[in-house]
């Protein structure tokens, strides 16, 4: 009997120890998700993630705050945008989506391609990441940058001043542009580059255009800091000659243009045409009116005249327009591209640089090319008469450039118009929102996000929506 007891004990020990061997327990590698993924899939994710935010919420708030759009009557989803009373929770998701999504994915590609000297991946990832960082710095002024994107190595990244971010980005872009793209280790990217399909010449042009945009952030603070670099860029004139877009959308729910998906479809009835832009286009008989907006329909589905609502008048005009059915709406579809740069935007950027640092004649040339390119982009009939001498859009320097840039940004890259307005004070026809909570002032920035406030003690103290960013006029 004693024997039996010992045998049993032995059995337990054997079972216990053998079953605890490593192979028995090594089942904790997630079978549902890969642990190693090639650059091509991560780059796509970074590019699409950038487009998703730039062409979604940032396009929307840009559209409201640069008076392309206004809150419709009969609804109130974006009322706080019109009141300029956003809080820290607003746009938090976009901030998070960029940092933990696109920026981090692009960082993964940057780190890997730097290690393997794979310069095409290095260039694309660096440029798109720089574009995103620049956009964030324009909205928030101070952003996590030099200590960002390193995981637990720094769980509370500090916030860098926008100006330092701008300088660092310019330096980074220069480094990336200087790499030898014909070296033997350089991959051909192809389809996974959803913007230029791996065309490195277009990426180089993207880099130059982005640099010019960043240089022009200095016009109010240190206008001559990059003067020679600007002039060199203008001389080389290797800027984007096509729009930089993402078009890989399908007309199916959750596969469409992000602005259309959320703002036109899911939360329909809210985004109406702004009276500010509608009136400009109407008064000038601008053919782009019917390209930018969809007119309301009557009972027989016949289009009525285009009509916009004043900023913040969604309550006051309730009796005039009961719902959005009585107002014009943005002409954006599920397949509309997301624009990082439109060709007209590039033209106006060059025009502004020429106006400030080059020749007035070239500025005028690019100004008129901008208008032409804008008509093409909207597929509207060209009307050169509009910028003829004495006509409504006759070239009169910076105000003309920025005002036309503003019109050309509608439904495309409205955030840039919002930045331009605060940087240059143009266009000059903006109206004060009827429900403004900051009086006659205009918003200058977004509020530091709630999630950062909660988890990162280095988040700067709250700054009101009307506090200017570093480059503002």
């Amino acid at each position: 009997m004693k024997k039996l007891f010992y045998y049993t004990l032995l059995l337990i020990t054997v079972v216990a120890t053998t079953s605890c061997s490593d192979s028995f327990f090594n089942i904790n590698d997630d079978p549902n998700n890969p642990v190693v993924v090639g650059n091509e899939f991560v780059l796509t994710s970074g590019l699409a993630g950038s487009a998703y935010v730039a062409g979604g919420y940032y396009e929307a708030i840009g559209g409201f705050w640069s008076q392309h759009y206004a809150q419709s009557t009969g609804a109130s989803q974006w009322a706080t945008w019109e009141e300029f009373s956003i809080d820290e929770g607003d746009f938090d998701r976009q901030f998070t989506s960029l940092y933990a999504g696109a920026l981090m994915d692009l960082q993964v590609v940057r780190d890997r391609s730097l290690a393997s000297s794979d310069w095409s991946y290095y260039l694309t990832s660096t440029l798109m990441q720089s574009y995103d960082f620049a956009m964030l710095a324009d909205f928030y002024d101070q952003i996590p940058f030099s200590e960002a994107l390193v995981g637990v190595k720094k769980i509370t990244p500090k916030y860098d001043d926008g100006k330092n971010v701008c300088d660092s980005l310019i330096a980074r872009i220069d480094v990336a542009l200087a790499k030898n793209l014909s070296a033997s280790t350089v991959s051909t990217i192809g389809k996974s580059d959803i913007i230029f399909e791996g065309d490195m010449d277009k990426w180089t042009r993207f880099g130059n255009t982005l640099k010019l945009k960043l240089y022009l952030r200095y016009v109010n603070v240190d206008a001559n800091k990059y003067k020679s670099q600007i002039q060199a860029l203008l001389t080389a004139n290797k800027f984007l000659n096509v729009s930089a877009t993402m078009t890989a959308f399908k007309d199916e729910e959750n596969n469409r243009n992000p602005f259309y998906e959320t703002f036109m479809d899911r939360l329909n009835g809210n985004v109406a045409a702004s009276k500010t832009l509608v009136d400009v286009l109407k008064n000038n008989n601008d053919a782009r009116l019917n390209a930018i907006y969809i007119a309301p329909l009557d009972k027989n589905k016949i289009p009525l005249p285009q009509v916009g609502i004043g900023q913040g008048r969604y309550k006051a005009d309730q009796a005039i327009y009961a719902t959005i059915a009585n107002l014009s709406t943005p002409n954006v579809t599920g397949l509309s591209p997301v624009y990082f740069f439109t060709l007209p935007e590039v033209d106006f950027l060059i025009a502004e640089a020429q106006f400030r640092y080059g020749t007035a004649a070239t500025a005028k040339t690019f100004y008129e090319k901008g208008i032409e390119d804008s008509y093409k982009l909207y597929k509207a009939t060209s009307q050169p008469a509009l910028y003829a001498a004495g006509a409504a859009y006759e070239y009169k320097g910076l105000e003309s450039i920025i005002t036309q840039k503003w019109i050309a940004a509608a439904n495309c890259n409205a955030a840039e118009s919002f930045f331009d307005f605060n940087r240059t004070g143009f266009p000059s026809n903006f109206t004060v929102s009827a429900v403004s909570s900051i009086g006659t002032r205009y918003p200058q920035r977004l509020l530091f996000p709630d999630s950062e406030r909660k988890a990162n003690p280095n988040t700067p103290a709250r700054k009101s929506i009307d506090v200017k960013v570093w480059w503002a006029k």
Partner: protein, 1082 residues
């Protein structure tokens, strides 16, 4: 007898009874004194007498009456009478009966003797099923183990095993998610100690753990589905008894899965009927349900939002319109040049009228038989419930079949096993927003009838012309959208006991729990001609969920008695594997209307597959020592190996020890009649707890981009796929949580168990909490699952039982339990001052902070000046302070339960009350009541303009404020009054408005049953019959501030872990049920 007098004199709880007893005893005393004076000498003579019970005075048949020191004796007849020839030398009679204390009676000259036997203290040898199915004497336990009997569970025919525990045991909190049939329940023992896990106890049936997971998308804020958690699948009628092990000392042997306590379920086993035939039992209950609590509505103002034109207001989904005037007014849309009109008056019951009476039928039949050597038990149970929503869109059908048996092979081997099959068919009305029934109900203006829109195809009520464009006709949603959930589940076990030696038994037990569930849900194509916010392109999704759990246990049980010492040793090994698999496909945008199949779409389906698998191995030993059945000690240790932890931290060990001292054994007989039972227990234990699966490595999931409303899913057009570095950073240092607990308690019963007090104090500390910590996204990640911080739970539990009345015909039992738990998040990893608990809305967050209890509500508050004045804007509305603030905590301050049972002859009246005090909850219903102006609170001041008392305006800037007294009233007419109550704007009353006091008192159960007298059944085959009138959740009392919901509602079930404490997000109102039940035994 004399002791008894002293007992009753000290009895403080029933004067009436004391009086009766005194009278009886005095008479008896006088009688005894009288006979003591008689001295009669005689030869062998006949003496006779009657043996009766002290408890109820009934005669005791079959009692043994023996002359002390001889074999002379007899037993009492059916009337409790005896006669016996005794020799002259006989001095003393010994009278004994099973279950009664034996009595010695001096033989005197008398010929007739009245012998009264007292019942033995019944519970002294109560056997409790403890960890791993080991049966132990209750007195030997050094920890709190609460037992719940079959009767306690089934007294009111509750089809939910978990809900039947409500209010019955101190320190056990059970909350039902909603009033939907088959909704999930959440059980928390002794407070929450884990941040990440569900905090739910482990359920063990006949020694084998079962799966308590949920199927469905209970985590979704919108379109949430709740098909119940799986512990509720068990038919309560199959349960013989349940033991709740709240503390670590009791549950440590179950290993890391028992860190939140264990509920041990022992099922009914086969037994023969009284006549030796197979025993057949039948029970049935039918209950009807209606909403327990609906919000208090205002009945003064009708449809409207802004004070604009009437036409604009006629589309509105709220009651911010004009005051009721009783005049006829048009309403709704103009259709075909027609428009309806009705008197402009409040319809007080428009919401209540919407709901139908729910009906639940719950039937179980079982047959069983048994001999010394083998038993079997077979039961069939059926629950058929249709909830309070109109039609059959909320229903729950459950069929359960159980077969259990045991058999002995030779003298040494005993084999037992069980197999259970469960089939569940449910339909559930989704919670939250979007195509939501409850949202449409709460939004309905006070003057609009909901039931009148039942014909949703009518031209005025259809999708195009439903009066508001902001919601969908609820009847349309109920009838055109839908879901079907079906679950097939089998669980069971086989156990073999081999008696190796008389003192050594080996047990091998293997159990499995397999379920396969499918869910199909659909939404009809819903496109409105008007600018509708509810347009829906139609969608179909099909999901399947399968889970498999296998547990194998080997135990060697040894016991040895040496003199006054008993030794016990258990050695054991346990292997557990849990697997789950989920596949889902969805198409959005349907081609053909009314046809719900994945093929019915031109769009690309989204598909999802998820597998998870984990293993846990444990080896353990436990040693029991006892001395003279008075002093008991237990030491145990367990080592676990878990697959979910980092390889280097895979193995973890935790010991426990407990002592129980039965001090009443030392008492003299005299004292023993006062203190019939007294035990002190002491326990100290540790329990480890492993992590979730797949948290050690970083991953690259397929990219999904979302803004909270819609997504950009991959693959993109092209087609182009993408993978994104996961937002959760892997952690290769992940180790187990460790809970250490000290427990001290006493169980003392007085006056022959007429009064019992059971008290426990525990102090539990959990360190290395596993939690998916939010990282600032600027790190490139949003979270990492890590070990952080420390939580303590300290509390007391008190259970008092009293039997104030116990006579032959009348018995009254009362019990009262009280529990208070102080929960504290003591510390977090340095650098973290707050963690987000993953629930919460944009207006009210749910977080944990060190130095405070877990589960804090956080939201915006009104900005105030340094001297406390409210800052308002130019419209007179309060503006929000820049920072969110803690608005309160979710946890109860204390909980209580009271149970009363009165039996008079065949009638039994049961009542149970559940009391919970303190804590806050979020209520979407309350938020909606303010938002829509339907809540009674919104009629404040007759909606006349008023100035916020003590308010100021800032005429300076935000950085250099200059405050002046505010003279701007909140305007009634222009809509600002609704801004004041509407927290979606950052002005007004803010998040706190939707937080309610969680306190309540609920009349949980009420039943009146009649046990039919045997005489009535004599000529029938029925040996026992009970009929009852039953009620559950009949009344609810809440603090005045909560005029909205039953605070027990928790939309998020248990899958969200702590999120369940957040509150309700448009849950179906909980119900009150009333019905009858019938119980027959053949």
């Amino acid at each position: 007898m004399f002791f008894e007098i002293s007992i009753y004199e000290r009895s403080i709880f029933n004067f009436k009874y004391k009086f009766m007893s005194m009278k009886k005893i005095s008479l008896l005393l006088a009688f005894l004194v009288f006979i003591g004076l008689q001295v009669v000498l005689a030869q062998t003579r006949d003496i006779s007498g009657t043996v009766t019970s002290a408890d109820d005075g009934t005669s005791i048949p079959g009692a043994s009456v023996v002359v002390k020191g001889t074999t002379l004796g007899t037993i009492t007849n059916m009337d409790g009478k005896f006669t016996l020839k005794v020799p002259p030398t006989a001095k003393v009679l010994v009278v004994t009966f099973v279950g009664m204390t034996s009595s010695e009676v001096a033989i005197t000259g008398l010929n007739n003797y009245e012998v009264v036997l007292k019942a033995k203290t019944v519970s002294v040898d109560e056997v409790i099923v403890t960890a791993m199915g080991i049966k132990r004497s209750e007195k030997s336990l050094g920890y709190s183990a609460a037992k719940v009997s079959n009767e306690d569970i089934n007294s009111t025919g509750n089809s939910s095993m978990m809900n039947s525990l409500q209010g019955k045991i101190a320190g056990v909190n059970v909350s039902s998610a909603s009033g939907a049939p088959g909704a999930s329940s959440r059980v928390v023992l002794r407070g929450v100690s884990s941040l990440g896990g569900s905090n739910q106890p482990l359920y063990v049936i006949d020694g084998v753990p079962i799966n308590n997971s949920m199927a469905g998308s209970s985590t979704a804020i919108n379109g949430g589905l709740d098909f119940g958690n799986r512990a509720n699948d068990i038919n309560p009628e199959d349960i013989q008894e349940m033991t709740v092990l709240k503390g670590g000392s009791g549950s440590a042997l179950y290993g890391s899965r028992a860190a939140n306590g264990v509920i041990i379920i022992t099922t009914k086993k086969g037994a023969a009927s009284r006549k030796g035939n197979a025993k057949i039992e039948f029970s049935h209950s039918t209950t009807m349900e209606n909403p327990l609590r609906l919000p208090d509505f205002q009945n003064e103002f009708g449809q409207g939002w802004y004070d604009g034109t009437l036409a604009a207001n006629l589309e509105e989904n709220g009651s911010w319109g004009a005051k009721f005037d009783g005049k006829n007014r048009i309403w709704g849309h103009e259709v075909d040049n027609q428009q309806k009109y009705k008197p402009y008056v409040a319809l007080k019951d428009n919401v209540r009228d919407f709901f139908e009476t729910g009906l639940t039928n719950n039937t179980t039949a079982s047959v069983s038989n048994g001999t010394e050597r083998s038993t079997f038990f077979l039961s069939y149970g059926n629950v058929n419930a249709d909830g309070i929503m109109p039609g059959n869109s909320d229903s729950y059908k459950r069929n359960t079949i159980s077969l259990r048996g045991s058999s002995k092979f030779g003298e040494k081997i005993n084999v037992s096993g069980s197999i259970n099959y469960i089939r569940k068919d449910s339909r559930f009305v989704p919670t939250g927003q979007e195509q939501s029934v409850m949202d449409a109900i709460w939004q309905t203006p006070r003057d609009i009838s909901i039931v009148d829109q039942k014909d949703y195809k009518d031209k005025f009520n259809n999708v195009d012309n439903y009066y508001t464009v902001f919601a969908q006709n609820p009847y349309y949603v109920l009838n055109e959208h839908g879901n079907k959930f079906r679950d097939n589940r089998i669980y069971g076990n086989i156990s073999v006991d081999y008696t190796i030696l008389p003192w050594m038994t080996a047990t091998y037990r293997v159990g499995t729990d397999v379920s396969n569930a499918t869910l199909k849900s659909w939404r009809a194509i819903t496109l409105s001609n008007r600018a509708s916010y509810n347009d829906e392109v139609g969608r179909v999704s099909e999901s399947s969920y399968s889970t498999t759990e296998i547990t194998s246990d080997f135990l060697l049980n040894m016991t040895k008695k040496i003199n006054d010492f008993n030794f016990g040793l258990v050695l054991g090994q346990s292997v557990n594997q849990r697997e789950s698999r989920n596949q889902a496909a969805e198409v959005i945008g349907l081609s053909l209307p009314g046809f719900y199949d994945l093929s019915n779409s031109a769009s690309t389906p989204t598909v999802l597959g998820y597998i998870s698998k984990r293993r846990l191995v444990g080896a353990y030993a436990t040693v029991d020592l006892s001395w003279k059945q008075m002093l008991f000690a237990n030491f145990s240790g367990r080592n676990d190996w878990s697959s979910t932890l980092a390889a280097k931290n895979r193995s973890f060990f935790y010991p426990s020890a407990s002592v129980s001292f039965l001090f009443s054994e030392l008492l003299k007989d005299k004292m023993k009649d006062i203190i019939s039972y007294g035990k002190i227990r002491l326990g100290i234990s540790q329990t480890g707890n492993d992590a979730g699966v797949y948290l050690v490595n970083s991953i690259y999931p397929q990219t999904v981009l979302s803004d909270g409303y819609r997504n950009l899913n991959f693959p993109l057009a092209g087609p182009i796929n993408g993978f994104s570095l996961g937002n959760r950073l892997g952690n290769d240092n992940l180790k187990s949580e460790l809970t250490s607990e000290k427990e001290i308690g006493a169980d003392v019963r007085f006056f022959q168990n007429r009064l019992g007090v059971d008290f426990s104090y525990y102090d539990r500390t959990t360190t290395d909490l596993i939690w998916n910590v939010t990282l600032p996204s600027s790190t490139g990640y949003t979270s990492q699952t890590m070990n952080l911080g420390k939580v303590t739970n300290k509390g007391i539990e008190l259970m008092v039982t009293v039997v104030p009345v116990k006579t032959k015909d009348l018995q009254w039992k009362l019990s009262w339990n009280f529990a208070k738990n102080n929960n504290l998040l003591v510390e977090l990893t340095p650098g973290l001052d707050q963690i987000d608990l993953g629930a919460g809305t944009s207006t009210v967050g749910f977080v944990a902070r060190p130095g405070m209890p877990i589960g804090l509500f956080e939201g915006l508050v009104a900005q105030t000046t340094p001297d406390g004045k409210v800052v308002v804007n130019s419209s007179g509305l309060p503006v929000s302070s820049p920072e969110r603030q803690i608005l309160g905590a979710a946890q109860y301050k204390y909980t209580m339960g009271g149970n009363s049972s009165i039996t008079w002859k065949g009638l039994t009246f049961l009542a149970s009350v559940d009391v919970r005090q303190g804590g806050l909850m979020y209520s979407r219903t309350a938020e909606m009541m303010y938002f829509t102006g339907n809540g009674s609170q919104t009629a404040y001041n007759d909606r006349q303009p008023f100035i916020i008392p003590n308010s100021v305006q800032n005429v300076g800037t935000s950085t250099a404020p200059v405050y002046v007294e505010n003279t701007v009233p909140i305007a009634g007419g222009d809509g600002n009054m609704n801004l004041f109550y509407n927290q979606t704007y950052s002005a007004g009353k803010f998040g706190k408005l939707s937080l309610l006091d969680r306190s309540f008192v609920k009349l949980r159960e009420l039943s009146l049953s009649y046990h039919l007298p045997k005489s009535l059944l004599a000529k029938t085959p029925i040996s026992s019959a009970d009929i009852s009138v039953i009620g559950r959740n009949l009344f609810l009392w809440t603090p005045k501030s909560n005029t909205f919901v039953d605070p027990e509602s928790t939309t998020f079930g248990d899958e969200r872990g702590l999120g369940a404490d957040y509150g309700e997000y448009g849950a179906t109102p909980t119900t009150r049920s009333l019905g009858f039940s019938l119980r027959l035994t053949l």
